[in-house]
């Protein structure tokens, strides 16, 4: 096989609208090269997304990275790839099969590709990466590692990435380490030069600078969540490591080291707990004692936190829990995304319990909702769970720059001051409810006379143990009302309406972009739909109103059992029969095409 033999050209140019997928081996250093490309495209002002599809392994298994570029801002996951970079011999066949007809495959031509892989409807772009690196670098480690930068260089040429942008990025990354910088620059140049000389550059699919970058940043959800916790004033954090939530705490720790150390004093305390039960116990203990405290975990951790979630609900203690969802059940696929903890989180723990949930759709909302979570937890004296997911949490997203209002004051809820306390004839913990059914609390040690006894056992308004039905009911009934009252303090659902839409589509969290893109695609097929994205639980009345407005309703979510639909049915009273499901739960981020296909099929509009 010679290189030239398989090169074919496509004529139709697709500028700033294509998807590429890079197939790598885990632990070989490809992530840096891939995100370099992604970042460069972002800097060129072009809407872009990067999805890291990685295994639950440290070294040796297949891993993929997908970059989608779309001038109209549709950057949910693409399902057909215009260009595949195949760096993993284990998965050659499957990877090459995934390229769309007419697309491209970039491969390491140091060795020939097995002939059975040679599809005739795609263009193979060979770059002798290993050979190029072997010529220039001595050490095996460098040769292996720099192959990645080398293919990045080829892509810079093929896709028309701005070379200045790339140069600046390399400078920023390795500026302080000249040796490293030089090696990377050289590797990049090797790939670039080879492609420029040997291949037709740029490809019909290529980039041109835009201005979509203005006011935007590139950030992953876990970093944004950590920032939110920092800005909300969280001082105590307790956690147990678990993918994909670990980087929430990693980021919180480094932000604290940066912003919370004054004269050697650390205004924070992070405890790596012995397990998730302990982590939530610590958050509850700290919150009871007046600190803003949180934990971050994923599904298995939530399962383990069940007992204490019920305790905090019943004893009315604030707690913020970030659940970065992954694919279940059980250990499931730890590095794959899903939205399958909705039901569990809504009603976690035995007995009658209901929790307050927040559903961010992207890192910007992770920041805002993290701040909101503390306000809600303290205002309503109850656990608040923010349900992000692996797609949001661990992928880089382009979002508007985060904003902060310096006038912001945390809502600490009803905490009695010493004066207020003294003005009371007698302080009873669960008495004197306000319009939202919240009763005032006191902080331990703050003032004499404020003591009360926290318990998860049956208690009356005074907090005293009771086994008297009426006294017990008085308290749990108030809790139910309090939960309902929280609805109006949650972020309202986001509506996208379209002229003449009879169909309503409900979505949640990271489904946002795909569903909005799907709505455009459907409109183009004369199937206009209104979209509502719910952002919190319990649902405000507007959710029910949207459902009532539409004859046909679809609920798009990433789980098998239609859990969002379940919550909607249970809490709005709409019947299951009215809510059709679009369920995608294979573990990869949602793509617009999946939504379109399902709705088209179900409405018989094919």
């Amino acid at each position: 096989m010679t290189l030239k033999a398989v090169v074919r050209t496509e004529t139709r140019a697709r500028v700033n609208d294509f998807a590429i997928k890079l197939a790598n081996v885990n632990g070989t250093g490809s992530a840096s090269a891939n995100s370099l490309l992604m970042k460069a495209i972002f800097r060129m002002g072009i809407p872009v997304s990067g999805k890291n599809l990685f295994p639950s392994n440290i070294q040796g298994l297949p891993t993929w990275y997908e970059i989608r570029v779309n001038k109209d801002g549709h950057t949910s996951r693409a399902l057909d790839y215009d260009l595949m970079v195949t760096m993993n011999a284990q998965t050659y066949a499957a990877d090459i099969a995934e390229v769309r007809s007419g697309g491209y495959v970039l491969y390491d031509s140091t060795w020939p590709l097995p002939s059975e892989l040679l599809r005739t409807d795609v263009t193979f772009l060979g770059v002798p990466l290993a050979e190029l690196c072997a010529q220039q670098f001595e050490r095996p480690r460098d040769r292996l590692l720099l192959k990645n930068i080398c293919y990045a260089g080829a892509l810079v040429a093929l896709l028309g990435v701005d070379r200045d942008v790339i140069a600046t990025l390399l400078e920023e990354t390795f500026g302080g380490k000249p040796k490293l910088r030089d090696a990377n620059q050289l590797a990049l140049k090797l790939g670039f030069d080879y492609a420029s000389e040997q291949l037709t550059c740029p490809l019909p699919i290529h980039l041109e600078p835009m201005d979509a970058k203005e006011g935007n940043i590139l950030i992953d959800g876990n970093t944004a969540t950590a920032l939110g916790c920092l800005y909300a004033g969280a001082t105590v954090a307790a956690w147990y490591p678990i993918t994909p939530s670990t980087s929430v705490m990693d980021n919180f720790a480094s932000l604290c080291r940066r912003y919370r150390v004054h004269d050697g004093v650390h205004d924070y305390l992070i405890v790596q707990a012995e397990d998730e039960l302990a982590a939530l116990g610590m958050v509850v203990g700290a919150s009871w004692n007046g600190a803003r405290a949180f934990t971050a975990t994923s599904g298995p951790g939530i399962s383990l936190m069940n007992e204490l979630l019920g305790f905090a609900y019943y004893a009315e203690i604030p707690a913020v829990i970030v659940n970065v969802q992954r694919t279940g059940p059980s250990t499931g696929m730890p590095t794959r995304t899903q939205q399958a903890d909705l039901l569990l989180c809504a009603y976690a723990s035995h007995g009658d319990t209901k929790h307050v949930l927040l559903f961010p759709a992207n890192p910007a909302e992770c920041f805002d909702f993290a701040v909101k979570a503390f306000d809600l937890a303290e205002r309503f004296q109850t656990p608040v769970l923010m349900l992000s997911d692996l797609d949001i949490g661990m992928n880089d997203w382009v979002v508007p720059q985060l904003a902060w209002d310096d006038a912001f004051l945390p809502d600490r809820g009803r905490v009695l001051t010493a004066e207020e306390l003294h003005a009371l004839p007698r302080f009873n913990r669960y008495e004197d409810e306000d319009a939202e059914f919240v009763t005032p609390r006191t902080l331990p040690g703050a003032a004499p006379g404020g003591a009360y006894f926290v318990r998860g056992s049956g208690h009356d308004k005074r907090g005293a143990y009771t086994e008297v039905p009426d006294k017990y009911q008085e308290v749990v009934d108030r809790l139910a009302h309090k939960h309902t009252a929280a609805a109006l303090h949650l972020p309202a659902p986001v509506l996208h309406r379209r002229e003449g839409a009879r169909i309503g589509v409900v979505c949640i969290g990271s489904g946002d972009l795909a569903v909005r893109e799907a709505a455009e695609l459907l409109a183009a097929r004369d199937l206009p739909v209104d979209v509502m994205r719910v952002r919190g639980f319990p649902f405000p009345p507007s959710v029910r109103a949207f459902l009532d407005e539409h004859e046909i309703l679809f609920v798009v979510e990433q789980n098998r059992d239609a859990q969002l639909r379940s919550l909607l049915v249970l809490e709005t009273g709409v019947s299951t029969a009215r809510l059709h499901s679009v369920l995608v739960y294979g573990g990869f981020p949602l793509s617009a095409q999946q939504v379109v296909d399902s709705i088209v099929t179900q409405t018989g509009s094919e």
Partner: protein, 349 residues
């Protein structure tokens, strides 16, 4: 755990501490434990210790799990905040609470079921983090509240009220704690208030986690080997009803400075207590473990301060936190503000 309020009979002659408070100020709700339960004696010793140390009650936080023992946090220092959490998780609540506010005095009360079975991992890690608190285990060798199952501290051959013998080796919380680096371990006996109060006071003053194991007989369900017969005897010869709890006298005894004290238990069995001897060096961990094992092999229960090391920093010292409560750090010191957020985001481009 009903909070029955005790009648307040003013007694002019009550002693006063440095704060001008009387022992009354350290009382709590009326106990609902069985008459004669060892736990009530531990509660009394705790009140005494807090009183003698002149700790303001409202600066005390009382934490517990679930069990008869865990109920006792309601029975002392009624003006202190109490936190009766869930079974086995008290150490985690304590860790969080202490993280938030290092200025309070933390008293954890737990049971042998609460701390040596369901909560064993948490106890171990609280010890490891050396959080500053007094951690009392009301150790009765059984699950009192759930009616008499063996706990992990039951001795081999102990028999339950139903006559079954325990087959598994007991866990000695002090040995366990020492093996993982505890900085303060001591043992008391509920019946020996005289010796218990100073131990509790020492624990309250310790730099980190002070683990105090208190042998605290369950008058209901604690029947050891020698007493199997005695229990059967009672069944044979006395009016018996399964739900009858005989009101008993609290066992009182004083472990001598030297030698072994044999204390007859309610069930007719005997426990052998030995106070650490006069020249005992509580700063040698290996020797302490050796001593405990040695005496245990002789069927003796060592009481007293077994090991203490004031040289190990607590969680806060290790974390470089402020001197006051973390929870009290003003918001403007915690929130970096809008400008800083803008600056930071330059790196996200």
């Amino acid at each position: 755990m009903p909070s029955i309020v005790k009648p307040l009979i003013p007694l002019a002659t009550l002693p006063r501490n440095d704060l001008g408070l009387t022992p009354r100020n350290y009382e709590g709700a009326m106990s609902t434990l069985c008459a004669g339960c060892g736990h009530d004696s531990v509660t009394a010793a705790l009140m005494q210790a807090l009183f003698e140390l002149s700790i303001p009650p409202y600066k005390v936080a009382k934490l517990s799990g679930i069990g008869c023992s865990s109920k006792t946090t309601a029975y002392f220092a009624g003006e202190a905040h109490g936190f009766n959490s869930v079974h086995g998780r008290m150490p985690t609540i304590a860790t969080g609470a202490i993280a938030a506010n290092r200025e309070l005095h933390y008293v954890g009360v737990s049971g042998d079921g609460d701390s040596l079975s369901i909560g064993l991992g948490h106890l171990a890690h609280a010890v490891r983090r050396n959080i500053r608190m007094l951690y009392v285990i009301d150790n009765n060798g059984v699950y009192g509240l759930t009616k008499g199952q063996f706990s992990a501290s039951a001795d081999i051959g102990s028999t339950s009220k139903k006559g079954e013998a325990n087959a598994f080796a007991p866990i000695d919380p002090l040995m366990l704690a020492l093996s993982i680096g505890a900085t303060f371990v001591a043992r008391g006996f509920s019946g020996d208030k005289e010796r218990l109060v100073p131990i509790l006071k020492a624990g309250l003053s310790h730099r980190g986690l002070a683990l105090v194991d208190v042998i605290s007989p369950c008058v209901q369900f604690n029947d050891h080997e020698g007493s199997t017969k005695s229990y059967l005897f009672v069944r044979e010869h006395e009016v018996s009803a399964t739900d009858f709890v005989e009101p008993r006298e609290t066992i009182v005894a004083h472990v001598p400075d030297q030698g072994v004290l044999a204390v007859p238990m309610h069930d007719g069995s005997q426990m052998h207590f030995r106070a650490v001897p006069a020249g005992y060096d509580p700063t040698d961990r290996a020797a302490a473990m050796h001593y405990l094992q040695d005496r245990h092999a002789q069927g003796e229960v060592v009481t007293g301060l077994v090991y203490a090391d004031e040289g190990v920093p607590d969680l806060h010292e290790l974390s470089g936190t402020p001197e006051g409560p973390l929870a009290a750090v003003p918001f403007d010191r915690l929130c970096p503000g809008a400008d800083e957020l803008a600056r930071l985001q330059d790196s996200f481009r």
